[in-house]
């Protein structure tokens, strides 16, 4: 893919929601475009493009700022301790389900406030595994509110 060419070569050929049909340097592409002007969601060639997500590698976060198990399973490994500083996307816990290992990642940077499970525990889907620090939670709430406002203002 030639990425040196400049962006002004993009041209919208058609927009029949949700299909955005564009031309770039003579090549045609279809995107499925949904969401809002400020928070668009793109799928390309059958693949949802996480690039556009505001918090990439958002892991699996619940409303209370803790990280939750993506599936019912067994806790295989706990990679953090209370007090650890973690970065967004860092693996916190590994859960095993359906013979597969699923990493649970930090939704955002923060400090580990509490670890709620032990290795070997059976966990239900949505069970909180780790609680991240308060500051982080506040920031997330703010972000969410801001995003909601943006959505409504579109």
């Amino acid at each position: 893919m030639n990425t040196d060419r400049q962006d002004h070569d993009w041209k919208i050929l058609d927009w029949t929601p949700p299909i955005l049909f564009v031309e770039r340097n003579g090549e045609q592409h279809r995107f499925v475009l949904t969401g809002s002007a400020n928070r668009p969601r793109f799928s390309w060639q059958g693949h949802y493009q996480t690039t556009f997500e505001p918090l990439r590698e958002a892991g699996n976060s619940s409303a209370d700022g803790s990280t939750v198990s993506p599936m019912p399973g067994t806790v295989l490994e706990i990679k953090v301790q209370v007090g650890d500083e973690v970065s967004a996307g860092q693996i916190l816990v590994v859960v095993e389900a359906m013979k597969m290992e699923l990493p649970v990642k930090a939704p955002a940077p923060g400090r580990i406030q509490e670890v709620l499970v032990n290795v070997g525990d059976s966990v239900a889907q949505g069970k909180s595994l780790v609680v991240l620090s308060e500051e982080d939670q506040d920031r997330k709430e703010q972000n969410r509110e801001k995003q909601n406002r943006e959505e409504q203002n579109d």
């Binding site: 962006d7 499925v32 668009p40 059958g46 693949h47 359906m98």
Partner: protein, 512 residues
Amino acid sequence: MPKNSNQDPATHRVLIANRGEAARRLIRTFRKLEVETIAVYSDADKGALFVEEADFSINIGAAPSNESYLRLDKLIEAGKELSATALHPGWGFLSENPDLATAVESEKWIFIGPTSEQARDLGDKVTARKLAEAAGVPCTPAWSPEKQEHGNAEPSLEDWTRQSEIIGYPLLVKAVSGGGGKGMRIVRDSSELKEAIHSARREALSSFNDDRLFLEKLIEPARHIEVQVVGDGLGDVAILGDRECSLQRRHQKLVEEAPAPHIEKDIRQLMHSAAKNLALSVNYRGAGTVEFLLDSSGENYYFLEMNTRLQVEHPVTEEAYGVDLVELQWMVAIGKKLPSNLDGKSPCAHSIEIRVNAENPSENFIPSTGRLLDCCWPSFEGIRVDSGIRSGDTVTPYYDAMLAKIIATGDTREQAKDRLIQAIDCTSISPLQTSISLGRDLLKSEEFASGKFYTRMIETDWGEWCSPVIPESWETPLRAMAKKVLTTGTQSQKNRQRRRGTCWDNLEGIMP
């Protein structure tokens, strides 16, 4: 067989012992036939589309399958409570469990499938092989221990090893009650045999509650070709062409098409008559599929198994041959004879299907679950979407990852393929990841075009495949374009999107 054949169809009420897209697919035909339907649902499926679409519905238990959809007693109880007169098992779950057919028969309901005896004999791989051999169907070299069901008679490792050498490596250790690749191990030399038997037995016991195993020669590379049969149980069997289902991951099909391309005419004929002979030999009733392996020479085919149910991939046959297989199932279930012009029907089109599995194909197919923000399906000529979901639904880890199927049909294979690729480009069930992006590249591959693809191709040659991610330099212009089109949209468009924060809800699930 229950003698309800003289009843008016309107007096029937079918319990759909399934969920999701399978249940919706079945309900669609029964609605057309003016037969009432009962949906059974687990706690996880309370708000599901199929529950809304059925005439009646009833909760049968908690989310895990073994507390709901796999509970024979609860299905029967539900049917009694809502006065069912018939039951359709769909596929998966209990569809091939002979106990279901037996239980339905003893309630004097109509079982929309084979007799319990046929389900039992053909579901047991060793018995099925014997029936196939007796019907003159070619089988791979194999060995199964005698009296295996009595624990004491368990053959020694020496026995297994000796028999393995007679058959020759590579070979398969397979569960007698297996399916979907469970309880199956490839053994390439004698050093792998012990562990293969051990792990296959353990898996077979936990998956099928039956730890009997047998040995079978591994045909590799091979294509998976299957023949669609419909029998009326009154001595007549119709062949409705074949399907190519070689593109698989973990022994689960991903892309299927009908008719199977790149097969010599005489070999196709031989496979059709082999399937017909097997079905006739048991006076088969219902829709069934006889699966074959075709070796790389394209000249040798071997019986794999017979599935005594409707298959997931039945839509490609329906589209290519212009039939409604659920309607045919119903017809023979209520004791009618097959239409005389059905057998050997020629295809009127070519049809290709991609399964929409909620899994990440570039991360070893790990399940992708969660709430759907979008559910955008393609809608144009030649496209059929069989789906069980809508935006706002939550995809849970309790059930099969398959959420939907996109079926593209055209005058030629090329046209069907091009339509399917465009259909994939117009599909989004964000934020989940699905198998369709991999399917798209498979469809575009040289191997697909030339028909040189085999059952293990995805695992062996496509292991390094990565999802198509847009180049970084595209991000800014795409954001700008999104801003432009999503801000200038008409008010009505915005309202439509706002309702569930998504698109195309009104068009979802369009059928041809």
